[in-house]
Amino acid sequence: MSAASKSKQKRSWIASSFDDDDFSTTTSNDTKLGAPTIYKKLKGISKSSKNPSLWSGEFVNKDRLAVHKKKAEEVEKWLINALTGVPGHRVLLLTGPAGCGKTACVRALAEDMTVVVKEWINPSSVYTNNSNWESRPWVPGDQVSESGAATLFREYVSRVNKYGSVTTVTTNPSNRDYNGQLLLVEDLPNVFYREPALLQDIIRRYVLCGRTPAVFIMSDAPQLEHSSTRLFPPNFCSAVGVTIIQFNSVATTLMTKALSEVCRRHDVPVSTELITCITEAASGDLRSATNALQFSLDFSDTTKNILLAPSKKKSRRKMANTDDISPAVATSTNAKDSALPLFRALGKVLYCKRSDSPAAPLPPHLRQEERAPATADPEVLLDTCYLTPPTFAAFLHQNYTPFMKSVAGASTALQYLCDADLILSQWADGEKLWSYGSVAARGVMHATGVDSGSEVSKISTFRPLVSPAFNDVTRTASGFLERVRSKFPTGSLHDLTSIILPYSSIIDPYKFGGLASELGRMAESGRVKQLQCHFSEHSREESVSEPIDYDDTIEEVSD
């Protein structure tokens, strides 16, 4: 989540109009200082005099929330409990897929209860903060020290706790009982992803002495290290008393309703076909669905250039057919499944469709290397799937064997995979060499064509694509190594693992706390457990409907 929001912030410097969250841009001046900011309510429609505002902001309203009623009630109940001071209601964690209305729900409810939302937004850079700290009014207890994002965050949180908001107390004579404030944290500093213990420490302290309820919002991320369970492990939550409310992605009916509602509000005629199309493509992400809707409707508008600016690379090819709003455009703008690009890229490399045009002639001694030009460009493929070249190579390595028709072909493919490994492991030259990461892909594509020639075999067998077992193996191995080291602080690992431990497993299996027998004994089956990857389902669909025309789905919009 933080990576995405980072880039979001960055983008806002370039074209603020495209930012999906108006609030961050308006408040960013204050938050750069890491100081508490009073969150100003902005009605999305009121801003429409300027650039066209985004419709996705409009769901921040209790009546327009596209969240399931029960969920919203749950959150509301928690908020009421928290604001009236029921114990055990200090910290709330909202999780769920991106764009399912977590933030909107909190904001809308807070507005409804006239609670001031104080939101932490990552300072755009710590340096800015350090250079003009003098301009910041000194607060008692404030340290004039260079501080990282974690320190800033801690200070911010404690200050929210200490000082009530001046404006609300004076200007709002409170029509209801809950005129407190609410701490909203959506954008955690990156430090915490590296060291979750830091955050847990802050929260633990906050629960003990905090008066203001805090709401943490975490989007589900595909990567493990960004997941909410890592930052908020279950045992920590139960020990400290963090309430967790899990949001589900927006249901299709709710989304369709919300989308047509938006259109009606803006007096834009829209076909139901488009709405269904967008709803399907968004897979429960209301924000992206609304953006897509607005995007596709604005196409005929004069503002299209502004809107297109941030994503020009991917959308350039779509400019050709801007005249009619085809549903395909709408769907292609927000393909959401993150595994899909990877799957497509793998499929294109492994199946390696070749065009009908004849191969460029090679000199006689290279005749056997002649191949018809491939239809897919490996560099582009690597670009569209979000993996680093080494990971992509690992995926290829794990999956290439069933596609090889002979050992010679497999050998060729492996040669190239090795070459890619050599190139990519030159860490000193870093990213420069990563542009050569397509060596692996090109090699495998070259090898698959070894003896296909005329009989481009109709492959009908089911070949699931799986994620590399390599990481699993290294993890087990390093776990063993750590244990070996704790038993034998010095001494050559080579001797230990190849001679001493295997023999001690024969001599005395229980020696060294069972380590000897675990390390020394092989599982005779020898088959490393095949990991069922998360995209195995797609592979099933794809491999059933073999030859696939990829061309109409060529465009992917990442993020």
Binding site: P390, A394, H397, T401, P402, M404, K405, S406, V407, A408, G409, A410, S411, L414, Q415, L417, C418, D421, L422, L424, S425, A469, F470, D472, V473, T474, T476, A477, F480, L481, V484, R485, S486, P489, T490, G491, S492, L493, H494, D495, T497, S498, I499, I500, P502, Y503, S504, S505, I506, I507, D508, K511, L519, G520, R521, M522, A523, G526, R527, V528
Partner: protein
């Protein structure tokens, strides 16, 4: 109950079983009161460590046997904290810096600096220097070796360094020239046989000479392996019989089956199965060069004479590339695949000749 390899390790230079002349030299060297930095080289299981420990005992007395394990943390230039455990007595410190990978320079320098910056308390009864034993010195990065060169000169007055390495080829010349190189050759088969018989006598076991010879051959002149094999034999069946099978480590048996699989069928599918087995080996921390050696040894036995040179070349080529690259499995599998391709082509050609 400790393993025989620890139980019957000679503790004094005079008690060493072989290379007695060299032991005599070492004793004279130490008795002179001082000695230069040492570089002890020799194949694995030849007795390098034994000699170093015995030398230290000769130097400082039995105090070197009181060992304690220390966990030290060293801060790198990029503020990364490295944990390394060392074994130390009052007189010496033993460290294996190859664990910390590319940060070994900092570790080596810091450890030596902290050790060397304090003098011995009682210089009358003791030597006025301490000893740092660096294990697996040939695994040190070039960077660390250059750093070590400076450190060696700087702290010459308070510190001696003993480097243990399998081969001198990976130690830079600048270090080699600063050290006295002590080469410890592997014991001969006769020496191994006599050592095994001595051990069995002390254990009051009866070891037939045939079995001892068999073990000596199987151990490939690695004394550590030989003693472990002997103990494993004893555990598996005692009293010994001269026709007893000498058991090999599990992974070697596993590797042999893998090699047989490779020879019996050459297809992408088989390659996939072999990969699974290679993964199994890797996940049990079997060193990659041991896998290469084992595979080559088994494959060579199975192929025709004219292919032997080519197969060996392939193994050497891929092992070299493995050391340059980062993911071992690619290179191991590439070796297997290229062997398969070569072998299959060879078989097909021979078939064609036959008909």
């Amino acid at each position: 109950m400790s393993l025989w390899i620890d139980k019957y390790r000679p503790k004094e230079l005079s008690k060493l079983d072989y290379h007695t002349e060299q032991a005599q030299h070492l004793k004279q060297l130490v008795d002179g009161g001082d000695f230069p930095h040492l570089l002890v080289t020799g194949p694995s299981g030849a007795g390098k460590k034994t000699r170093v420990v015995a030398l230290l005992r000769q130097l400082y007395g039995p105090g070197t046997e009181k060992l304690r394990i220390e966990h030290q943390s060293v801060l790198t230039a990029s503020k990364k904290k490295l944990e390394i455990s060392t074994v130390a007595s009052n007189y010496h410190l033993e460290v294996n810096p190859s664990d910390v990978g590319i940060h070994d320079r900092v570790v080596v320098q810091e450890l030596i600096k902290t050790l060397a910056s304090s003098h011995q308390l009682d210089t009358v009864g003791q030597r006025d220097f301490k000893v740092v034993v660096i294990v697996e010195a040939d695994k040190l990065t070039k960077d660390a070796q250059h750093g070590l060169r400076r450190t060696m000169e700087k702290y010459m007055s308070t510190c001696r360094i003993i480097l243990c390495a399998n081969s001198t080829s990976k130690v830079i010349p600048a270090i080699r020239s600063r050290c006295l190189v002590v080469r410890v050759p592997a014991p001969t088969n006769e020496q191994i046989v006599s050592i095994l018989q001595n051990i069995c006598k002390k254990e009051s076991l009866n070891l037939p000479i045939q079995l001892a010879e068999k073990i000596a051959v199987k151990s490939r002149r690695n004394l550590r392996r030989a003693i472990l094999m002997c103990e494993a034999c004893k555990v598996e069946s005692y009293p010994f019989s001269s026709t007893q099978e000498v058991s090999l480590p599990d992974w070697e048996v596993f590797l042999r089956t893998t090699a047989n699989m490779i020879v019996s069928e050459q297809s992408p599918n088989r390659l996939f199965e072999v990969r699974g087995r290679l993964y199994e080996l890797l996940s049990h921390c079997v060193p990659t060069n041991a896998i290469f050696q084992g595979l080559l040894r088994e494959l060579i036995q199975n192929v025709d004479g004219e292919l032997k040179a080519e197969v060996t070349r392939l193994a050497a080529y891929h092992e070299h590339r493995l050391n340059l690259g980062s993911k071992a499995i690619y290179h191991l599998e590439a070796f297997v695949a290229s062997f398969m391709a070569l072998y299959k082509k060879f078989l097909e050609e021979n078939m064609a000749d036959m008909f």
